[in-house]
Each structure stands twice: as structure tokens, then as C-alpha cells.
């Protein structure tokens, strides 16, 4: 007997409204269909019709709230390629530092949410406590806590002050000392292992064919990382290596546990990159075109196209930009966010899982998470509301059941 269970449109662990149509036999998921067409913000249309490129930079920042430096990064790369704009050396280093700070906070945020999804709330609070340190540094360096507004075509808008550097180093020291502890809680704990080992497996072949990106594909053993493969900004100086789970555990399974391993190792890698960047940061200007009016004129005159690729915490972000002289907005603009590609990998991951695994597997690709949502369960023609709390309760019950040895 098969039942159809829709999870969404506004639901389980997603910020975007999306609908997961699950077809189940008993507790086991047999078929999955992802229906994304719930809401469209028309950001590309705005960039192509209403805004000039400088305004579009800020709308790019708001494509995603958590990785709000990734989209501007990819966009400035694309525009700089299209109009042949020079970027000063110091600006390139500041960009790297900002990107890595963001990676630390995003991965820790995700780790906390993952702990919450399996009902391990004490670990959620611990992880977010640890994350608070990097948020304080972001606030110190950028002025505000979340949106940084630091990228600009041809450089960055604010320098990292001398007096801030000791504080950043102190934070890095805190993470270096605390990393082993965090890794112990996440990777050696029985609860997490029970709920994530062999759950939501994505094979290497599927990852390649479905064009998955970021930690999702790296956890399946594909060594793909833009910072390594086609470095940009100041990344060629740092010799970044793509992280795969076998570096720590010695094997690649491609399950949710491996995705935790990859993200935690990347936090450690980011700390090392920031430390080196601070040591080696050259002096000089932070932007090649400080006059905004002149920049606007240059942007209007520019002709050409460019592709910007940036490794965001969730995976690779691509922006394609086409500029036409005399036409102020972008002539064409295409944004490819990492979840865009990763969403299809839910289908092989969820097949064969149980309903209680849906929150953690859905969260494991790190889609933008927030909002309390609900799902509707249609069983025998009767409609029941299955809220986010119910799903969470199911998930917690499964953890408890496993702990009892059942």
C-alpha cells in the first residue's frame, strides 16, 4: 500500500518554500519528487531591467542571507572579467579573509541545525555558543553582524584596521583550541553516529551526474572545490586542498555523517587560511576606483561578458554577466546558487530512508534553513496536519528508539 506524503510547500528544514512529494510504503520512502515552483522573487529580472550594476550588487547580497558574501563575490568576479577591471592586492586578501570568516560561521550554524534535527539540542546550543565568537569578529570588522556590504567592483569598501587584527587572531586561537573538542562531540558521539551513518547516501556516480556541488559532492568523494581547481582572489597563494571525508575517517561512504566530517574539517581549513592571509597581507590601496560616479560611467560604457565562480559554504556559486555599452543594467545576468544543483540529489538520498530521517537528510545538503513550517499528511483520504514540530518529534522519537537499542 502506497501513501503520498507532501512535505512543504512551506517546510521541513528549508527557508525557500519547496514541496517534497514523498511516496511511502510503511515507513520507507520509495519515490521522491521535488516541486520548487512556489515562489519567485525575480532577482535576475530586477538586475536586467530596473537596477544599475551597483544597485544589483546589493540585491545579489540578498539572494541568500547566510552566504551574503558569496553572491557579491561571484558577481564582482564576473563583472571584473567583463570590463577588465584591476583589483589591488590588499583588496584580494581582504576578500579571502571575509569569505573564510563566512565559511566558519555558516558551517557552525549548519552543524548546530543538524544536531537540532536529530533532537540533540544541547549540542545545538553548544555549537552556536562557539559560533558567537566569529559573529563578534564579523560585527567588529564589518560594522554590522549579518550583511557585510563590503564587496565593490574593483576592490572592497572597508579596510581591516590594524587594531582589529589582534582580536581576529585571538578568535582564531579560540577555534584552534576548541576544534578537537567540537570534533569529538560531533564525530565520536554515539547519538550522532546512529542517526547519520548510512543515512541519505549519495554515491560518487550520482553526485557527478546530478552535478552536485560543495560539501555535498565532496562528501561523496569528488575532489571538487573552486578554490583548488580554478583559484581566484588571492587563493592561488594558499594552495587550498579539496576536503574529502577519507582524510579523517579513511573511507568515503557519502552519507550524512561524511557531510558532517567535511564541514568540520573545512572550518579548520578556513582558520588556517585566515591566519596565513593575516600574516602575508600586503599593504596598499583597497580599491582601484574609489569614485563611485566614475565607476558608474565605466560600467555603463563597458562591453563584454564574464563568468564568476566562487566557492560558497554550500558549494559553488556561478554568476554569468553580459554587459552592453550604453545599456545601464546588466544585459543578461544568470545566478546559479549551490542549492539549485544540490536539490536534485535529495531524490537518490531520500529513497530508502524513513520519514523520521527526512529532516536530517534534507538539512544535510545545507539548504537555507529557517521558518517554522508545516506539512500535510493525506492518509486514507483524511487530511492531517503534520507540523514541523511533529516531524521533529518523529525524529527525536527515532533517536530515543535507537538509543534504547531498538
Amino acid at each position: 500500500m502506497r501513501y503520498e506524503i507532501p512535505i512543504g510547500p512551506i517546510h521541513p528544514a528549508l527557508k525557500e518554500p519547496i514541496l517534497l512529494q514523498l511516496s511511502v510504503e510503511g515507513e520507507e520512502i520509495k519515490e521522491v519528487d521535488v516541486i520548487a515552483s512556489q515562489n519567485h522573487r525575480g532577482i535576475e529580472w530586477i538586475g536586467m531591467n530596473r537596477n544599475n550594476p551597483i544597485q544589483s550588487l546589493y540585491i545579489a547580497e540578498r539572494v541568500c542571507g547566510i552566504c551574503n558574501i558569496s553572491h557579491p563575490s561571484a558577481l564582482v568576479l564576473a563583472v571584473e572579467e567583463a570590463m577588465d577591471l584591476e583589483v589591488p592586492e590588499r583588496a584580494q586578501y581582504i576578500r579571502v579573509i571575509q569569505c573564510e570568516l563566512e565559511r566558519i560561521h555558516s558551517h557552525l550554524l549548519w552543524a548546530g541545525v543538524a544536531a537540532h534535527e536529530i533532537g540533540f539540542d544541547s549540542l545545538l546550543h553548544y555549537t552556536w555558543k562557539v559560533r558567537e565568537k566569529v559573529m563578534d569578529i564579523l560585527e567588529l570588522v564589518n560594522g554590522n553582524r549579518v550583511t557585510k556590504a563590503i564587496m565593490m567592483y574593483g576592490g572592497v569598501r572597508r579596510d581591516i584596521k590594524k587594531e582589529h587584527i589582534p582580536k581576529i587572531r585571538k578568535m582564531l586561537q579560540y577555534y584552534k583550541e576548541g576544534f578537537d573538542k567540537l570534533a569529538k562531540f560531533f564525530l565520536e558521539d554515539k547519538t550522532i553516529e546512529m542517526r547519520t551513518r548510512n543515512v541519505g547516501i549519495l554515491t560518487k556516480e550520482d553526485a557527478l551526474k546530478l552535478a552536485a556541488v560543495g560539501p555535498t559532492t565532496r562528501a561523496s568523494g569528488v575532489k571538487k572545490d573552486v578554490r583548488q581547481d580554478q583559484a581566484y582572489f588571492a587563493y592561488p597563494d594558499f594552495d587550498v586542498k579539496a576536503i574529502t571525508p577519507d582524510m579523517l575517517t579513511g573511507k568515503v561512504v557519502g552519507d550524512t555523517y561524511d557531510r558532517i566530517v567535511v564541514r568540520l574539517l573545512e572550518v579548520k581549513q578556513s582558520v588556517e587560511i585566515i591566519e596565513r592571509a593575516l600574516d602575508e597581507m600586503p599593504g596598499g590601496e583597497i580599491t582601484s576606483q574609489p569614485k563611485i560616479a566614475k565607476l558608474l560611467v565605466d560600467l555603463k560604457r563597458a562591453d563584454g561578458e564574464g563568468i564568476g565562480r566562487h566557492e560558497a559554504p554550500r558549494g559553488e556559486v556561478i554568476h554569468y554577466v553580459n554587459l552592453k555599452s550604453g545599456f545601464e543594467p546588466f544585459y543578461s545576468w544568470k545566478i546559479r546558487a549551490p542549492t539549485y544543483n544540490n536539490i536534485m540529489s535529495w531524490i537518490p538520498m531520500l529513497k530508502g530512508c524513513q520519514i523520521a530521517d527526512v529532516p536530517i537528510v534534507a538539512a544535510s545538503i545545507d539548504p537555507c534553513i529557517s521558518c517554522t513550517n508545516r506539512a500535510i499528511r493525506i492518509a486514507n483520504g483524511r487530511k492531517e496536519m503534520l507540523s514541523k514540530e511533529d516531524l521533529h518529534r518523529l525524529s527525536v522519537e527515532k533517536t530515543k528508539k535507537l538509543m534504547r537499542g531498538g
Partner: protein, 135 residues
Amino acid sequence: MRYTFIPELFRQLFSKPFTNLFPLKYAPASIKDTLDKIKKGEIEINPPVEIPDKEIFRGKIQYDREKCIGCGLCIKVCPAKAIELKKEEKKIRIYVGRCIFCGQCVDACPKGALSQGEEFLLADADKLNKEWVIE
């Protein structure tokens, strides 16, 4: 395999709060009554967190009317379309309700007429109240 988090859990029982304090220690039964009491000075609340670096903090926008020449560059770069030109006076009007605090207009202004202050507690029910429309 074991439960590695348990020792930390006990340690947490005796550690101090890590983050910033809430305005009140416990959630009040009635928010309206509490607000009234705060106004009268019957209850004291924990003050908001201090701004770590006042120079680069991006708070509520401040406008120096005298310096403004009405060139309209801030209007051109504002991503939220929060600024409006008053043509006859050659001055601008800023709707803080639409502002996204990016500070691009501050960078763009050739005369330095715009700056960002330290004010950030701006919640209000009316978007067009006096403090929110800067002229």
C-alpha cells in the same frame, strides 16, 4: 562509541552565560504592561549591547542639509530606492523605513553630506513618522 557530550553538559551547568543578556531575565506575562512600567521607571532593563567599533558601524542615516548640493548621486546608487529628490529645493528626502543600511550613498556623496549614526533600535508601527523621514 560513547556519549561524548555528557561531561560538557555537566560543565555547562556551572558556566556563565556566553552571549548578550536579554532585556529582562524572564519573559513577562504582559508585554504592554511591562513597557508601560519601563516608561514610568518601575522596572530596569538590561541595556542594549555596545557597538564594538563606532567608526564603521552602519546605523540610522544622518543628513547634513547645508552640505547637500542636490546632485542626486545617492539616489542613483541607492539599491532600495529609499531616497527621493526634492526638485525645487535641490535637496533630498530619505525614507528610513526603506533603508537597508548598506551605506552606499555615504560612499557616493561627493560633499560628505551623509553619514551613518549609532542609532539602531528603530522598530515602529508607523513607517512614515517624523523620525523616519529625514529631510
